[in-house]
């Protein structure tokens, strides 16, 4: 069967999907990146291929997420796109009339306003990651609760306690205080959900006109407590797509399909033997060519350099391109 492969390498999770030629999801894989994107890409690719019956033929590859360039090097992507565009394309193909997309991932949170099927405005969190998945992850582990059970347990709360959502550090001290006062853990959890939503709306959603239909996607959408908190504040239903955690990857696959359809060329996909038949390693060094001291990353496949990045002057990048040409 022919498929389009979509890959989203994020800070916390790495997601892979295969779409068939009619844009139906044939397989999806959600992995924790665990600080090793190279391993995650190999494993994710193997798993997603194993999830469909019969031999897998890839007709196009799209990558997105903060690790999109790494995935591009390893897989040979046809399209390398930023997360905003990928998420918007995915949400739009599922729910064409969508007007607001809330996306909360591990390190990023974004709001995308759609008008007539195109991105009209967007915002991302700035330097602070307080209102994101990693914040929730951290607080869950403080309460020694499995992040997967977080939402369901939070919903058992009768009265959420108020927790400062402005900053992760303040939230934590607030939470400890409330614990010592003897509040039930469920109430604290629901309070955390509300704090995250408040933080999101005040920071990322600041000044944006949130109109229905609202779609909520990204890893944090798995948390039913957050969904409820959003609905309570916004006063409108919040839809969670069935494959909310891999929407970025779905968007990347759709973009790859669009690209292949428009340029009529063959995919640049590297093939399974390239990916599995070699050892990918990455190494970084501080370039001493100028006082900028760029941290240059080198990706190698079996001791052969295949990519450099991080150099502001592009000295390493171009030297490799010259060598390969």
């Amino acid at each position: 069967m022919y498929y389009y492969l979509g890959v989203d390498i994020g800070s916390v999770s790495s997601n892979f999907v295969l779409l068939d030629s009619r844009r139906r999801l044939s397989a999806k894989v959600y992995l924790r990146t665990q600080g090793n994107p190279v391993q995650a890409i190999k494993e994710g690719f193997a798993q997603v291929c194993a999830a469909v019956p019969g031999p897998v033929k890839i007709k196009g590859v799209g990558t997105t997420g903060s690790g999109r360039h790494l995935a591009d090097i390893m897989l040979g992507a046809d399209v390398v796109k930023n997360e905003i565009t990928a998420h918007a394309v995915a949400a739009c193909s599922l729910i064409p009339e969508v007007r607001t997309i809330i996306e909360i991932g591990g390190q990023d949170s974004k709001i995308i306003l759609m008008r007539d099927g195109i991105v009209n405005d967007f915002a991302m969190n700035t330097v602070c990651a307080a209102g994101t998945g990693s914040f929730l992850d951290q607080q869950a582990s403080r309460l020694s609760i499995n992040i997967e059970d977080f939402g369901v347990r939070a919903l058992k709360s009768n009265k959420a306690v108020r927790i400062a959502g402005r900053c992760g550090v303040f939230a934590e001290s607030d939470m400890i205080h409330k614990q010592q006062m003897g509040y039930p853990v469920e109430d604290i959890m629901m309070g955390l959900c509300e704090a995250l939503v408040r933080n999101y709306l005040n920071n990322v959603g600041k000044g944006k006109k949130i109109e229905a239909p609202v779609v909520f996607q990204g890893g944090v959408a798995a948390n039913i407590g957050i969904k409820e908190a959003f609905e309570k504040v916004l006063g409108t239903a919040v839809q969670i797509p069935p494959h909310h955690e891999v929407m970025g990857a779905i968007g990347a696959a759709i973009l790859a399909e669009e690209m292949m359809a428009s340029n009529g060329q063959l995919t640049t996909f590297n093939g399974e033997t390239y990916i599995n038949g070699g050892e990918f390693t990455s190494r970084s060094h501080e370039c001493s060519g100028c006082p900028n001291l760029c941290e240059v990353v080198c990706i190698k496949r079996d001791n052969q350099a295949i990519a450099y990045w991080g150099d502001r002057c592009k000295k390493w990048e171009t030297s490799l391109a010259a060598r390969l040409a």
């Binding site: 915002a123 000044g207 001291l293």
Partner: protein, 328 residues
């Protein structure tokens, strides 16, 4: 006589003035090298925590100049450069902060520039500087007039679409390749000392140009027009740069050829926290994006935002164009 001028803060507005003034009086002017990571690191280690990134970077440049065997370091106390408007209070304290925190500091020329009510302080200080360098009042006045003229010439160069950093290079006699014309036009605003310092802004201007955009900066707009636009605000903006930026926002918002506006803010900047917000509110007709940088920002995050912004502008335009019938 060797006088050092740090490559930071108001360097990007007044370097031609300062350089001409001191050169005319027979001094050799030494500048620190353009901002790089070492500058940022050295500055962050030296400066008070509360300082914003451009001030920290300025410390880094002062640090570099300390080892240059200077007779004097030029670090003016900027209070106000025009009537009824002020510069951020951190600039007022620069000479004092440097003295308190930088070991091995050369002797400072810390003239007070306060033109909010009169140019009395500036005149007094200029004469003091002249005595220090062994010149008479008339020679000082002459050098100052020439310096003002040179500065105007540099601003004139910038008005042709160069950033002030590039204009200074051209003014200094360098030849620069003009940037390629792009298919998108982006209005880029922010404080000049963060925007035009490519080492500090992580090469923002060149990154936007590489994405196929023509960059419109404040200097390319008509200065009088900006003042008129800024005067339409319900209350006069207190800060000189903030007022000009707001005038620029209002003007760019009206101009059809500009597809979107990007505002570069520095984490920890007091004025930015207000001006950035107001700029967003005054941009009503087109997309606006606020970029915040600090000393540990990753370039990847900035790239993602810029790419997404350009994607959005291009897709929007495609839809706009497709609404017109092809046969005109």
């Amino acid at each position: 006589m060797r006088i050092g001028i740090p490559y930071g803060l108001f360097y990007f507005y007044y370097y031609p003035l300062w350089k001409t003034f001191f050169s005319d009086l027979g001094a050799e002017v030494i500048t620190s090298s353009p901002t790089c990571r070492l500058t940022v690191d050295a500055g962050s280690a030296l400066a008070v925590d509360e300082a914003c990134l451009p001030v920290k970077v300025y410390y880094g440049h002062v640090r570099e100049l300390c080892s240059q065997d200077l007779d004097y370091l030029f670090a003016p106390r900027l209070v106000s450069v025009e009537p009824r408007s002020y510069i951020c209070p951190k600039f007022m304290g620069i000479p004092d902060m440097l003295r308190a925190q930088v070991p091995g500091l050369p002797q400072l020329i810390d003239i007070t520039v306060d033109l909010s009510r009169s140019d009395r302080y500036l005149q007094q200080d200029l004469i003091k500087v002249g005595r220090m360098l062994g010149y008479k009042k008339s020679a000082i006045q002459e050098a100052f007039q020439h310096a003002l003229e040179e500065n105007r010439r540099c601003i004139q160069i910038a008005s042709q679409g160069w950033s002030m950093a590039e204009a200074i290079k051209i003014w200094d006699g360098n030849l620069l390749e003009p940037p390629e014309a792009g298919d998108l036009s982006i209005g880029l605003l922010g404080h000049g000392y963060s925007l035009y310092d490519e080492g500090l802004s992580m090469g923002l201007i060149s990154k936007i140009r590489q994405l196929g955009c023509k960059v419109h900066l404040l200097e390319s707009l008509d200065a009088e027009r900006i003042e008129m636009e800024a005067a339409t605000m319900p209350k006069r903006v207190f800060w000189t740069l903030g007022r000009k930026i707001m005038g620029g926002v209002i003007n760019m918002n009206k101009r059809e050829e500009i597809d979107g506006i990007i505002y570069l803010a520095c984490f920890g900047c007091g004025p930015d926290s207000m001006i950035g917000e107001m700029a967003e509110r005054y941009t009503t007709g087109k997309p606006f994006m606020l970029l915040t940088i600090d000393e540990h920002s990753g370039e990847a995050g900035m790239m993602t935002r810029l790419e997404a912004f350009c994607d959005m502008l291009r897709r929007r335009r495609r839809v706009d164009e497709s609404q017109f019938p092809a046969y005109g």
